[in-house]
């Protein structure tokens, strides 16, 4: 296979962390594993590393394919590769599956060493800070003392913010896309509906479904369908589907009638097949809990006081789940501290999902910023 500008065939690796981690919820993890992938080469100065944090349904497989027959490349293949905006000829790029994620890192479906059974319901609630703390262990293991950048969209962008707060000396640039300083009530509400869909599925069994040979597919697919609607904009749905029907005439029955229905059902089915429900619940919880201001006890600008990294903040006009207004709150808190920041608002119709698209201007901006990171070294 000779795909243009692809990182090619890649392999997922496992980092076994023997250092214990005290989670925000109080639980102590004595050891844990993180699945990760890397692309490009770490240079001799070890100063060209970029950590890419994933969002709600993502994982560590950012780019390339696992085999030549692999149907889809990694989820951010459009951005990452030789001569792509995040150029793997120049940067050493790291993708990591977050703690609690269902793609190889320790999570609800892994075996709890104490009980020799899957963690299931007993797997603790993890937070963004737990993730960045564990990512920091991986970074040290890879021999990197300071990251050239941490990049992420949505929930991934929140991790980039957390990195800059938690490890000011270890991150030179934070690239925060379609993110927010915390979730709004409306956002938490959407997450709760998604969680309720899952936990009320009779197969959920409070999270202990692995040994029963069932999965709460019905709940998970409804959760995903709901999520999917909110990641798109009304406009883009209108353009893509409008009121298009599957048949020429209305059928007047309970079967799917409109194309948007088929699309959502398809997306829901696909997701429910591949994704772990317990992980989904924990990812949404991590989103809800994230709030550097700790319930407004401190102003965001006060929280940002010790930040040393430079920022690129990007938002998309049609994104109503993580709207430009929320990105501007981050920008304001950075400006209040006189921290180097550039902010771009991209005109896009795709809603929140725009951060995964290959919009020319969007990739131009990212590419130019990454180039600047190289020059500034």
């Amino acid at each position: 296979m000779n795909e243009k500008n692809s990182v090619g065939i890649v392999k997922s690796k496992i980092f076994k962390c023997k250092n214990s981690l005290k989670l925000d919820c109080g639980v102590m993890l004595n050891e844990y594993e993180l699945a990760y992938e890397t692309y490009g080469k770490l240079n001799t100065k070890c100063d060209n590393a970029v950590l890419v944090c994933h969002a709600l349904s993502g994982n560590h497989h950012l780019a390339g394919r696992y085999s030549s027959s692999d149907k889809y490349p990694g989820w951010w293949d459009s951005l990452i590769g030789p001569n792509k905006p995040l150029d793997t000829n120049k940067f050493f790029v790291i993708g990591v599956n977050n703690l609690g994620g269902g793609h190889g890192s320790t999570g609800p479906k892994s075996i709890n060493p104490k009980t020799k059974n899957p963690w299931g319901s007993k797997f603790p609630i993890v937070t963004i800070k737990d993730w960045t703390s564990s990512q920091n262990e991986l970074i040290s293991y890879l021999g990197i003392s300071r990251l050239s950048g941490v990049l992420g969209g949505s929930l991934g962008g929140m991790q980039a913010i957390q990195w800059s707060i938690q490890y000011p000396e270890k991150i030179k640039n934070a690239i925060v896309i379609a993110a927010a300083p915390n979730l709004t009530a409306q956002n938490i509400a959407f997450n709760e509906v998604a969680r309720q869909a899952i936990v009320t599925d009779t197969s959920f069994n409070k999270g202990d479904y692995y040994k029963l040979g069932v999965t709460p597919k019905t709940g998970l697919r409804i959760a995903r369908m709901l999520g999917h609607i909110t990641y798109l904009s009304d406009d883009v749905m209108g353009q893509k589907f409008g009121r298009k029907t599957k048949n020429t005439n209305y059928q007047y029955n309970l079967n799917t009638e409109f194309e948007i229905e088929s699309y959502l059902n398809y997306q829901g089915d696909k997701f429910a097949r591949d994704f772990d429900a317990n992980t989904y619940i924990r990812m949404t919880k991590a989103l809800d809990y994230f709030d550097p201001t700790n319930g407004n006890k401190k102003k965001l600008s006060a929280v940002f006081k010790k930040i040393k990294s430079s920022f690129l903040i990007i938002s998309f006009t049609s994104d109503w789940r993580f709207s430009p207004k929320r990105s501007k709150e981050i920008v304001k808190a950075l400006l209040d501290n006189n921290i180097s920041v550039s902010y771009a608002e991209i005109i896009a119709t795709s809603g929140h999902d725009a951060f995964l698209m290959s919009d020319v201007r969007y990739h131009d901006i990212l590419g130019s910023y990454f180039n600047k990171m190289l020059e500034a070294k």
């Binding site: 501007k328 400006l335 006189n338 180097s340 550039s342």
Partner: protein, 199 residues
């Protein structure tokens, strides 16, 4: 084009005279960031640019400017009161909808404000109008049908406007072809530069 470049360099040098060294500067409508970089070199300043236009924004980023893409007219609430030493609006005021609000916001954010604009009262403009045409020049390069300039004014207009809005003018320079104009500036000046503080 090269004439425009030279001219703009000259107004940069006057702006730079007005900007204290090592001050923190906000340039509204910063274009590709040329002025901010000029001030960085000449006066050792730091600061940010604001630019709405996509292409200019990217050029500014590539020129190592910290550039914020917001609409100047929909408020500058991202910027705290008195958070900058100097706020500049260079050859942008004539395309603003609500001039008074923008300058008030600038005076809130900065200790000092610099505004520059092409003088519509310049004799060459007057002559073109007398001949029955909308003026075009180095400072006013657009045809009437595609101009972003909706609020062109003369030096006299701007003086009256500042009086009405109680903006205190602390310095004023009028230029034509790199030279300072002292006699009948509203007739013989092509470009006006104002230094303001709030009363």
């Amino acid at each position: 084009m090269s004439i425009t470049k030279k001219l703009s360099r000259y107004d940069f040098s006057i702006i730079s005279d007005w900007v204290p060294s090592q001050s923190k500067v906000l340039d509204l409508g910063c274009n590709d960031g040329e002025l901010l970089n000029y001030l960085k070199v000449k006066r050792n300043t730091t600061g940010f640019g604001v630019e709405k236009n996509d292409l200019n924004w990217l050029r500014a980023l590539k020129n190592n400017i910290d550039v914020i893409q917001i609409d100047i007219e929909s408020g500058l609430s991202e910027f705290e009161t008195n958070s900058f030493d100097v706020v500049i609006l260079s050859k942008t005021i004539q395309s603003m909808q609500n001039t008074e609000v923008v300058i008030k916001e600038m005076l809130r954010i900065g200790k000092q404000v610099i505004v520059t604009f092409p003088n519509f009262g310049y004799w060459k403009n007057r002559l073109q109008i007398l001949s029955g045409k909308m003026p075009t020049s180095e400072e006013l390069p657009y045809a009437w049908s595609d101009t972003p300039n909706i609020h062109l004014c003369t030096i006299e207009d701007f003086d009256n406007f500042c009086k009405k809005c109680r903006f205190k003018i602390t310095d004023r320079k009028i230029l034509t072809d790199r030279k300072s104009v002292k006699i009948f500036p509203n007739m013989f000046g092509a470009l006006a530069l104002y230094k303001l503080v709030s009363k």
